[in-house]
Subunit: 351 residues, 3 copies
């Protein structure tokens, strides 16, 4: 990191109850107590790491008010009410420095159709393309190489990072973050098999991304065959996720990296899908359900389900089976033994 903070700047941000030790340090990074080097800031967030404070190489350590030890000669301890809250405050400040509010305006290299509407407070970065009829809302930031197709609408306070693509007629509501390479509105995978060839079924619906959604890098979301594909308010989607056509995702779901959701599946609110999980088409995943990583969901799930495995089973059953599975070699031996013993018994009773 090229960012650096003096001890005084750190103190101004975290506002410690008291401090002790060197005030001449400069902080260039944040690290856990064990991993920290000179020049790092660290923190005692969890009491179980208390012993690590005495040995950490961090230059500044955020400690609770009641922490008893004293810093080494080149260290500073800042006593704060809650180290994790102080750390969050510092991270929030770094975030502002890393990504300062961009200046409103349109970069001279951007190509914007005459009939597109860009809000005056929006920022359109270099090499963005905005097609005819598209709308960009107030304070929204298109960073660079962003493509907005015809009649697409992007709401207010959005952040579309480099080379995001939003295709024709798709709708992105307010406060949405799309990470680099996200594709919203590519065609759904729909064909009819006619005389030995796959003929394309037109994909003429769109995608609706509701307020406060965040979508990770290179994730792809297909437009509906007709009607629309929906990502509900507050839902967070990680990197490299595939969302098929006509999928409806509810509010405040978490979809981890590399998950695939097949066409016309419905996720109700508060569903959590672990990394690399897959959901088959046309299913309904009930409210608040969870699937572990690599799970294959191939049937509807009742609200509040917790599943694992491919095809999935209730989590506890799957875990129990996974334990027994390891005993299969032993089980087969036991079966051999039992059969042998029976054979012996039969022979002896036949005698």
């Amino acid at each position: 990191m090229q960012l650096a903070f003096s001890a005084a700047e750190i103190a101004a941000i975290v506002q410690p109850l008291s401090s002790s030790g060197s005030t001449g340090v400069t902080v260039r990074g944040i690290a856990s107590l064990g991993a920290a080097q000179s020049g790092d800031l660290s923190f005692l967030g969890n009491p179980k790491y208390k012993a690590d404070v005495a040995t950490t190489k961090a230059s500044i350590v955020l400690v609770p008010a009641d922490y008893a030890g004293e810093p080494a000669g080149d260290q500073q301890f800042l006593r704060v009410e809650k180290p994790s809250v102080a750390l969050a405050r510092l991270c929030g400040r770094i975030e502002q420095l890393l990504w300062p509010k961009p200046v409103a305006g349109i970069h001279p290299t951007a190509v914007i159709a005459s009939g597109a509407r860009v809000a005056a407070s929006a920022t359109i970065g270099p090499f963005c393309v905005i097609e005819e009829g598209a709308e960009i809302g107030e304070r929204t930031h298109l960073q660079a190489h962003v493509f907005i197709g015809r009649n697409a609408r992007i709401g207010t306070d959005g952040w579309l990072m480099p080379r995001v693509t939003v295709t024709t007629e798709c709708v992105v509501q307010d406060r949405v973050r799309l990470h680099p390479g996200v594709v919203v509105g590519s065609d759904g995978f729909g064909y009819e098999f006619v005389q030995g060839r796959h003929e394309k079924v037109p994909q003429v619906g769109n995608v609706l991304i509701e307020n406060d959604v965040e979508i990770g890098s290179n994730t792809t979301i297909d437009r509906a065959r007709f009607s629309r594909t929906v990502i509900g308010e507050g839902t967070k989607i990680d990197n490299l996720v595939q969302i098929g056509h006509n999928v409806i995702i509810g509010r405040h779901c978490l979809v981890c990296a590399q998950v695939g959701i097949s066409g016309s599946a419905t996720l109700e609110d508060y569903v959590v899908l672990g990394g690399q999980a897959g959901v088959a088409g046309h299913l309904t995943i009930g409210k608040g359900s969870k699937a572990d990583g690599q799970t294959g969901v191939n049937s509807d799930l009742e609200p509040g389900s917790f599943v694992k495995g491919s095809p999935c089973l209730p989590y506890n059953l799957e875990q129990r089976i996974n334990v027994l599975r390891k005993k299969l070699p032993d089980l087969f031996k036991r079966m051999d033994a039992v059969e042998g013993a029976l054979e012996d018994l039969k022979k002896s009773s036949a005698l």
Copy 2:
């Protein structure tokens, strides 16, 4: 959707046998009978949903000629021979409106090497880069931010969507659609382990994409180590698929989202791979074979195979095992019981 159709425009497209009800409606979307709202068009495609026609909120409903009911006051019913055919005709018309034929020509921002050949009827959008020796065929559309490497050849009537990359010497034949973010011709993953380091094996082959192929968003296709990687005529590939170097995919295959095909594997014609399936390297998947989602194919498959599981088994066997697997806890208990009973028998016979 910002597109809208009057009742008269809908009638002109679907050409109903007869109509009844309101003629003043405007249609802005298409939805199933159950999901439709006012302003939507819906359709009775499958007789089992017949009862839903009476309760749908759709403004226009396509019904079969023999449908008996009458529309509500603000609805219109259009009687057609086959509602699904009428719907397809409407979707085809919407498709034309969403993506009108682009005007031929080269956007002034495109960077085209002096030795590249671009057909007069082609459309090259903003910020495209076409390197030396590359060729773009008649009526092909490079939408925006497309990169075509040295000596690559793109055939006629193609559609390369925003930020597609086709690298040096790769060949894309006619009527090919590449969705946003597709990479054709990145290096294969080949290294030799020499003195503790992985030394790169040059990847100097190319990729050939035959006629009528469609490839989904952010899918990656590696160039051959030498010779070429081939995607056969009419094959359709979904989003986020990985195709390794020297893979040969036959004609009219379907490869669903997030599938991974390892280097030098061969898919014969008409193979279907479900989402997130994986194929190990150097295998041959026989003609017309199918693999279910998340399947791990680790051996050659005879033509017409249908497999499931990781590692895969014949579909029916895998399904049977999945049923029995759930009974493992019970099976272990039965084994305990049997062993106990045997012990008892031995004791009693020893008496």
Copy 3:
């Protein structure tokens, strides 16, 4: 391929001990003996394919010095000490022709902030964006549509292919190859659940990519929550891989396509992960460990482990279980039989 080599050019590159046959051939491709057509060069790299030399259609064949046969009328045989070494030399030459060293300089369309530092010997291609404070090292090539965020640093001799994105403050060391669409430094997937909503946890660390790393197309690497995500020296990562925040990957690892590594996992040196494998968060994978394709790693692995399955087991145990698994239908039948026999025995002994 549009590249072509005359017989004389091939001879100049591979420097044969002797040659026989036609000298008038032109080579446009390389293929295995069985697949080669007229115009291809082939080679006898493995003695087991010796018989194929007599029937190959290749125009030029690299054969060992002691190969006895003679070429057909329109073929040429080049006798070399080691055909595989000769082939590697030819591939190396083709590599140079496919990707000639680019001329140093900045394309006039590139947008480079006034405070960015670009080495004089670097090549910055069309439509690249380099933000304030970023640095590009000597001889590094940014091909086209590349985005380098504020204060990011790219070392010497790098090759960043079309539409690579490296975000704010990330560090890429020397001789690094990033294939098209790679994203370095997108936000980690971190939220806190507060009053029914997922609140974003700032992701203010960065990514460090060490020397000699290669990363495949459309792979995504998240920045650390704080501190940094690290890809160790000489590690090679394939296409469509997901690396979560705060992951530490050691030196000389191989990470195959579509692997997902969850946040805060550590891979020690020389780890190999097969395609589509997943690693859960906060685990340590010991030095030299291997995981087969589609494996789900959900616990720490000792150095030198070799695992398979989801959840993973030692490779040999998993393979043994996979064999037994197929016998489950039979095992259940055996259990039925055993129980039946026991029942009979009990009855007979009760008599």
